[in-house]
Structures are given as C-alpha cells and as structure tokens.
C-alpha cells in the first residue's frame, strides 16, 4: 500500500463533506487531491470552511471536471445530495473502474429497484454492485469492493444494536425505533427547521412513518438478521449539534436477560474497536461519542421488553467516519487508521 492514496471529495462544503475533509487531512495514508463545491469553486477550502484555515492549501473546484478528477484519484467520496450522488458515482465508475468509490448519499442503499424508485425517485443500476458499508457487520464484503454505499446515520445507530440480538433470537420484532438526533443531521441549508429560534428549547418528532431510513433499516434486518418485516421508526429533533441516540423496543424471548443480551453483543463485536458495548447498569450518552467514530451500545431487559440503545455522532460514525472506515477496509488498511487517533473525545465529564 502506497503511503499516499490520491483521494477526492465531491460536495465537500456540506456538513458531511467538511467532517470528511477534516478526517482525511489527518489520515496518514491519504493525500487530498480534489474537492468540489457547486457554489465555491475557485476559492481556497480554508477560506470557505474557516475552521480548516491553516490546515490545507487546497483550492475548491467546480463540479464540472469529473472525468479528470476520477482519473487522478485512487478513492473518491461523494457527499453530493440524494439524486445527484448516485449519478455521479455511475459516471465515476466509467471514467476510472479501478478507483474505490464511496457514496455517502442514500442513492445506492436500497437494492430493490422499486423501493429505490419510491423513496429516492430513481433506481441507479450501479446500486447492484454497491456493498452496504455497515463496517462491523459487512466488513468482509467491503474488503475488496469497488463501490461502497455508506449507511445512513439513523440506520447505523439502530442496526448495530439490533442485528446481533435479532440474529441470536433473544428477541423478536416488529422493532420500535425511537431516535433522537442533533440538528446537523438536517444539513447545512438554512430553513425554519434548522433556525436557532425554532430548534432551541424544542423537541419534536418529524416524518413519522415517512422517513427514507425506515426501508433501509427493514432491508438490513431482512438480509442480515433474518428478521423481515416492517419497523416503526420515529425520528426526533433535539437541540444539540451532533449525536443520535436510538432507543429500540423488542419483545424479549423467553429466558432473555440483560446479561445475555450484553454478552451476545460483546461477543458479536469482539475485536471491533468502534463498537463499545457498555457494561450492565450503564447506558449510552451521545456525548461520549461526540467527534468520534465510536458507536456505544447498551441494553436493559425489563417488563418483557428488550430495550436497546445505540449512540453515535451522526457526522462521524453516522457518515464521514464510517466512510473512511470503509475505505480502510476496502483497501486492506487497519480499520482504525486515521480514525482512532485523530477523532477526539469531545465529552467533558463530571467524574467522581
């Protein structure tokens, strides 16, 4: 493995793109060669994303040089919006079949073309060769893949706790997934939904029964947990920048205990640094995962229910961090490269 992979990012000025650039600028095996922006082509990256001032000399490019970008790159990440991103990946695939392509949009996630058409308006054929990059569950498929479809933030927070428990038949669905997300999950577009005056001192649900991440979760549970069927998914917006906590309710199988659930989870994720299964009596807090690629998982069995918890940073493990993890896995690097060291704990804690 050469020490400097040439890496490019499409759509770097969105939140996901920014966090991705931040990680890549520190990744020891990577050199950032192109970064595109529809609105800021020609300006220095550090002048547009001022937090990155002094970190890089890279100049943003308009998005119209896709062919050259593809040829210059060993790896391309697409942080373009749904709708545009899948088409860009299809084009990149033609321009440079050797490059690793990682799509952070939802365009390539749903394999059933009719579902893709219903939820994303279009089914891209390249979706059929895209591996769903849920790193700790599907890492073997990611290794050697050329196209990776990076999972959604909510699905990652729900699937990591759910899959081992459903596979082991410790509980049965239909799963109820009650998720709470920080505001950056809604993207950088200024709207009433993201206005400080609306969001501060507010908790509310949205898109109940209508969120694109529900079919993504259902597809994953059917394929990798032998648990087909609908889920009830209720996303909520809470007044914080980053973080998702998913609280998940299942019917406990006979004999299932908190201990048995935690043991099953710990065993499933043994050796995987980024999933931290919490000891009995502790529950995940989004703050412990802030700025990191960790997903913290916990469980309580009570009153006939298995209650599972998954917490992560929606922009790192829920997006850019898992995308880099998938790059590492696809290219044979240790999965933690550039991710364990640089992302810092941003939780400040009142310890004993």
């Amino acid at each position: 493995m050469a020490s400097a992979l040439a890496v490019s990012v499409l759509g770097v000025t969105g939140y996901t793109g920014q966090v991705l650039a931040d990680i890549l600028l520190d990744h020891p095996n990577v050199r950032l060669v192109h970064a595109t922006s529809a609105s800021s082509g020609g300006k220095p990256l550090g002048a547009v994303l001022t937090a990155l001032r002094g970190r890089t000399e890279l100049v943003l490019e308009a998005p119209n040089g896709l062919e050259r970008l593809a040829r210059d790159s060993d790896v391309v990440f697409s942080c373009l919006p749904h709708g545009e991103s899948g088409k860009a990946v299809a084009a990149l695939r033609t321009f440079n079949p050797k490059a690793l392509l990682v799509d952070l949009s939802g365009d390539l996630r749903l394999k059933d073309p009719s579902l893709a058409a219903r939820w994303y308006g279009h089914a891209e054929p390249v979706a059929q060769e895209a591996v769903y990059g849920l790193s700790e569950v599907l890492g073997d498929e990611v290794a050697g893949a050329k196209v990776v479809s990076n999972p959604g933030c909510y699905p990652t927070s729900a699937l990591l706790p759910l899959i081992p428990v459903l596979k082991a038949r410790l509980a049965t669905g239909p799963a109820i997934i009650d998720s709470k997300s920080g505001v950056t999950g809604a993207g950088k577009q200024p709207t009433p939904f993201t206005h400080f005056g609306e969001v501060a001192e507010s908790v509310k649900a949205y898109k109940v029964g209508e969120h694109k991440h529900a079919p993504e979760i259902e597809q994953a549970l059917a394929r990798w947990a032998n648990a087909p069927g609908p889920v009830t998914f209720t996303p909520h917006l809470v007044p914080m920048l980053r973080g998702i906590l998913s609280t998940i309710y299942l019917d406990a199988a006979k004999g299932t205990t908190t201990e048995s659930v935690l043991e099953t989870l710990a065993s499933f994720y043994k050796g995987r640094r980024f999933v931290r299964v919490l000891p009995q009596g502790e529950l995940p807090d989004t703050k412990d995962t802030w700025g990191t690629n960790f997903c913290d998982v916990g469980a309580v069995v009570t009153g006939g229910k298995v209650v599972l918890f998954g917490a992560l940073d929606n922009l790192v493990k829920g997006a850019a961090g898992q995308a880099v993890q998938n790059m590492n896995l696809a290219l044979g690097l240790p999965e933690t490269t550039g991710l364990l060291a640089p992302p810092k704990s941003a939780r400040l804690q009142v310890a004993g």
Copy 2:
C-alpha cells in the same frame, strides 16, 4: 368567592415553587401570604429568586411555623421534596381541616400502600383522601376536594393522550412510553446530572425500568382507562430548560385510523382549553407549550401502531400550572383563571 384567597407555599425556592409563586403573584383571586424556605428564611423572596425582584415584598419564612401558616391560609401548596411533603400535608390537614391542600410531590399519588412504600419509602394515610388531580380527566372529583395530589410531569404528558384512546378501545397496550425531558425536571440541586458541561450536547436515557412515574402511570391506566398492566417507560434527558415530549406506542385495533384517534381525542377534550388536540399532519413541539399550561396532543397511525404524542412544560402543566388549575377546580373558579392570560407563549416561530 372572595376576591383574595389567602394562599401559602411550602418550599418555594425550588423550581416548582418558583414557577408556582410566579403564577400566584398574578392570579386575580389570590394573595400570597406565606412562603417557606429551609435555606433562606428571613430573606425577601425577590432577593433570593432574583427574577421576581420588584414583583413582591414577601419575606421568606423558615419552615417551622406550620400551624400558624395553616390557620392563616385558605389554600396551601406543598412543593417540599418527596418524603417531607406528605407528612407536611398530613400535619396541615390537622391544623386546618377547612383549607385546600395541594401536594406537588409524589408522596400521595400511589393509593396502594404497598406500592407507596416500595416507591416512596412510606405510605401516608392521608393519601387515601387525596384526589389525583389530572384536571381534564378527574376534574369532577377535584371539585370540592380538600386534598389534591398533583400528578407527575411525565404521567401528565402520557396520560392525557393515552386515556381517551385506551378507553375507546382504539388501541391496546402494553404501552411503550418514550419520554424526553428538559433539565429543570431534575430539580435545582447542582449535581453531575444537571451540570451544563454534562448536559449540553447530550441525550441519554436514565432509570430505565426504575422510575417512580411508571407505577403512577400504571395506576391511572388501570383506574381510569380500564387498561391494567405494566407499561414500558423510558425517560430521557435532553439539553433544554423546559419541556417534555412523550412518544407513545400502542397496537392499533382493527379499523383504527389517524382520523378516528384524533376525533376521539378532540371529542374527549372538547371545551377544555388546556389540552390542544392538533390537526392531522401536525405533531406537538415542546416549544409551543413553553411557559404555558397547555398540553399539546397529536397522533399518527402507521404500520399497525398508534403513535401518540403529548407535549407540555414540565414546570407548568407538569407541575405548578396544573396545581393552580386544580385549585381553581376545587374552589369553583373557572379552570383557566390566572393561567390562560398570564402564561405567555415563549415559542418564537419561523412562520411562512
């Protein structure tokens, strides 16, 4: 009804007591005559709770003059901590049997002495004559009562949407109640749990399967919704000052639709100003209830589940506001007196 009821508050310097004083200072039928504080007796109320500067000349009293306080008062509210409050109410009952006593603690809520002993450490006999003051459901019992046990904040947010739906058999339990609360629900005591450095940028569950409000909800559903049995209750802490949103999951009965649920709710609460049943397609936001005595209720039927939402301000409808509403009901005043006008909408909204 005389225009100036003599009213006293025990434990006024906690959050609930402060909001109660704030409401009472504006109530047109009330004169605040005594307010006690274990720590600040002898100081002016406005010097201790500086937000109330210039609103009142009242001087705080040490808590040792309970007998005189009882004799001077037509109404006494107790905002003392669990454990102390029930005993104080019992003593007040003896000192002045004519006074209306409203207990904002949990001490008198559980009617089954063994449950009370298990969850609160002690069963007060006076609990047997205390009416559970869920105003819109049990207002008829509150009218004329001498002892009112004010409901908990979480139970109010869950019971107001749940009771009409379960009573009408539009859905069945066991109910899953996933609640999100602002930090003032945890009280004024400085602890790691309420430290800004811990709470900001954090969402976490706590006391899963172990919260005192679960048996309170179960008791109410058994008594007033014909729905006995356990509930699954998961409280969460979110980084905001005030507000609770409870998201509730039930199994839909055959034929139940979003419309039928909303119609049942609207019919049940017809004429009750403080429960606002939202139109189809709108979901409650805690912010709309900030600083007010409103509880906003919404519903979606999806995937075989009835998903109910209840939003309120934990310190107003979830505590001090409902306590004043109960005083109004008990004394034959219009239930909105002193509550509809003064509490302001604190939501600032990015409207079209």
Copy 3:
C-alpha cells in the same frame, strides 16, 4: 378610557410581532382587531403561530387594506421591516390622524435627515413628529403623542444605564459599549447567521463600527445626556434565544464610587417599575429579565473606570413590551398595564 381599545398590528408574524400579539391578547384594555401578514393572509393567527393556538380566533389579513385598518383602529403598531415601516406609518397618519401609531422599526428613529438617509436609505418626514419612546426617560413626551418611534433593543439596554450617569457627570465618554445578544435579535429569516449549526457553541462580534444602533445611541446621548460625540459599539451574537447584556465602559470622574453610581441610578428610576437597579455586589443576568419588560441595571467602579451593565429581553423591553408601555403612557394608562402581570419570570434559579 374605554375598556377595549381597538388595536391592530402590521407584520405580526415576525418575532417582534408575535411577542406583541402575545402581550396584547392579555392586555385588559385592548381588543386585537386586525393583524397583517404578507405571507399568511387568510390563515388563522393560531394556525400560523402555533404557540398561540387556542388563544385567539383572529384571522390574518393581507397587508393591502391599510386604509380600512387605520379607520378601525385606536392604536396601530407597525412591526414591518425597516424601509416599509416608516412609509406605512406615514400612510396611516393620513388615513386616521386620531390613531396612536407606534413604529417598532428603525425608520423614524434618526431625526437628522442626512443620518436617516445614510443608515436607513431614506428620511421620512413623519419622523419629525415621532417621539423617541425610551419610556423611563422620555415618558413625559410620549404622553399625548400620536406617533411613537420605539427604540432599538441594543440602544435601550445601553441608554437606560448610561443617561443618568452621564447626566450626573459621574463619568465621561466616549462610551465603549460591548453588547451580547441572543439570536432572536437577528429575526426570523433563516440564514447562515441564524442556523443552529452555526450559532450553537459560538460567540462572535459582527458589524463592528457599522451597526445602525450606534448613531441611535449617539443621538440619544447628545440630546438627553448632554454627551455628544461618538461611541464605540460592538455587538456580539451568543447562543441563546432571548436577552441582551450591554457592558459599558466610561472614565470615572474624580470621587465617583460604585455607591454613588448606584444611588444616582436608583434615584433617577425611583417609582419606575421596569428598571430594576441592582444592589452593590450584584450584576445583571439576562435570564432574570427573560420574558419580562424589566431592564436590570448594575454598576462597578474599578481601576478608574465606571463599568455599567444593562440587561433586558430584546423582544420585550427591547421591542414589543416597551411598545405597549409607550401605548400605555401615550393613552394615560398606568405604564405597567398588561405588562407587569402577564410577563412571567422565565429564569429558573438555583437559590440557596
């Protein structure tokens, strides 16, 4: 004075308009007869500003019926944007010369036409008959006025502490005014400046040396404090909804002490309920004024400087509340009518 003044509001769906509506709905001498909205005409006010659901049946009107609105109204408040508002007031003045007009924009604040033209792009002749409604300083001029220009939020927070101290020659300028404002001061328009993702965990200055409120402050100091000359004004945005704290630096005159400054302030504002001069050793906190019409004022003399503090809620005393206070003063009502009772303390305090 009839018990129900007919009152109208232009531009009710902005933040200032919403808070104004909220106050007026509870004002005992007022009936809200018209409220206009450029974007939501024809919809119920309570459906657009959902926090006001259940408080009023009023239907919003398009802004094109100004003549009829003027004729129907005893009082009209204009919450229209700068540029539009002054013109509307001029038109209303013609349509109904008997009505009281209160302009909450900046259009009529600067009396020097060249200054008005420079900062607001246009000088309205009606500005010459508008009284600058700094209630506690210019209440005598407001009484009986027909056109009131309501002061800006920053100027109110700075002028209330500054004027008595400069008038009494306890200190000299040029004043340095370092102000910190919550986000609602920037209005309801979704922009990067008000996006939660930008504002949370951020403090920054903006428009240094270029803010419209600097000439407004300079005009007031020259006219009413005999202190002409420039001020240095630095506004900052802080991550909260409501509140302004202005920290003000002056050179202390010989012999000036903290005591003498506080005595001068207390004497100046004797009998005025809405300016609370804090005792020595206490400093204003925006939170104590949240949701109220209070301005809290404090002072420290140290190292040859007089440091003054003014704290208020930018939407109440800094806008809608002072506008209603001015209506009260203009019409001979007690200045606290509809303001002291309803606005609640929204500060929750960890008292001793």
Copy 4:
C-alpha cells in the same frame, strides 16, 4: 529524542486533565505512564472518563505516590487545583530534577511574591524558575526549560492579540478586555454557577475587578509589551461548552489603520501555525477554534479605537493544548507535534 517519552498527569479527571489525556493518548512521541485522581484511584481511566473508553487500559492512581511517579517520568503535567499544584511541582522538582514539569494551575504564574500571595494565598519559590509558557511569545525561553507555568485561558486569548500591537506602539492602553467564556472554564464542580438551569439562556459578568487573571495579564504586558499599568478586565459567562472570545479596546495611535494592525500581527506570528491572523473584514468566531489549539486573532480600527479580538478553545489553546505545545518546545520537538493533526475542527459551517 526517544520515540516514547514517559509522561504522567496529576489530577487527570478534571476538565483540563481529561483534554490533556485525550491529546497525549494520540501524541506520537508520548507514552502515558501515570495518571492520578484524588477520588477515583484504582479505577480504569476509561471507566471514569467514559468518553475515553476503548482508548487506553491505564488505571488511575491515588495521588500519594508522587516520588515514584516523578522518577518514572520524563514529563509531568499538573492539573491539580490552585494551591495544591504549586506544592506538587516543588516536590516533583526535588524527586526528579531532570523531568520537565508543566504546571497548568495559576500557582507559578505571578513572579512578584507579594502579588502571588495576594491572589493565590501563597508564593512558591519554584515560581522563580518557572518560564511563563505563552508559546508564540516566549517559545525561546520555553526551549530547554525544566519548569513551565502554563498561562491562563483568558490571558492567552488577550495577550496574543495585545502584545504585538502594544509593542509596535500602534495603540496605547489602559486596555479594556471584555471576555466571554463557555462554561467548562468554570471547571467540573457542580455548583449553581454551572447548573444547566442557571446557565442556559443567560449571559452575565462575574468577578469584575476581582479576577486572578487580571494581574497575570498586567504582568505580561509590563514584561513583554513594555506596557505597564492596570487593565480593565470583565469576564462573562455564556451558554456554551467551550470557547473564549476576548474583545479588547485600546486608543489608536495616530495613523494606525486596520491594515497596519493586521500586518503587524501577521508579521509577528509569521510561521507560527497556531495563531491565525484573520484577513480584514473577518472576525474571529470561537467555533472555528473548537477542539483545536488555534487562537484566531482579528482587528478593526474604528472611531479612534483599536478593537482587537482573540478567540480560542479554553481547554485546548487555553490549557491542555498549549501545555503540550510547551512540552514540544521544551524538548525540541516541532511545536505542532500531536496537536495539529489530532485536534479536529469542530465547527460546522453553513458555507456558500
């Protein structure tokens, strides 16, 4: 330079200690060998500071083994409280004269024993050999030092913009320093001052004319900017986790322009990666420095005043980050080692 310096931390469970551990765990030249905690000795670091779970196996030690710790260590950082820390450094100095000692408390900052006694209650003799580690100004003195006194968070934010401007005589004092700090600057101790219910929606000044950092700033300006005399320093608390913005007012010298100030600053800090002098027209935002060791500096000359701005993360450049930078400088490592790469930009930005 060996690739693994043995490094120890005293008092690791406070906020500063936690961020320091976080940085050191990723520093390529460092091995963390001891970390002490008065309250949690014997527990794994990752179990006490749960954000660090899975990052280290280190077990906390009680603070009573100072001699062995000193002998085992090439470098010791003390994050103990004021009062304890200076004494510990003096003891460590005896136990291992070869070790580099970095004190993050204020105990060794004031060189004048009478000032030290007045502000910190005691003057440690070891203060006389301690270099004041303002890295970009005093790096030459830090190189080769054995005892470094790490600057305070407020002083760093004020001195970095002030020193070059005062030295170049572009402006004169006395300086007025109006600083705004996030809540973590107040430490981890749960108190009313740090309670979420107090801090959210609040801006307030504190310790005006009485803060320990004022004499520290005065000492530095006298020594390294030839600008003796008092400063006016007003710290404020704002509702965010991390970040300080200092807004500084000086009298402009004749002919001083915004350009000349910015050129002087840029020239002074040429080649120093961690001070970013912003271009004309841009002002620092604490958010751009969140989680990083950067201090962003800006300037505006207006109305006869030079207004300077310094923004930093109080826990990184204001504490732990600058401490590591000083270790790097003292030991001849590049000053950015372990600091430029790992600390990430935590600002999420709504770019064009």
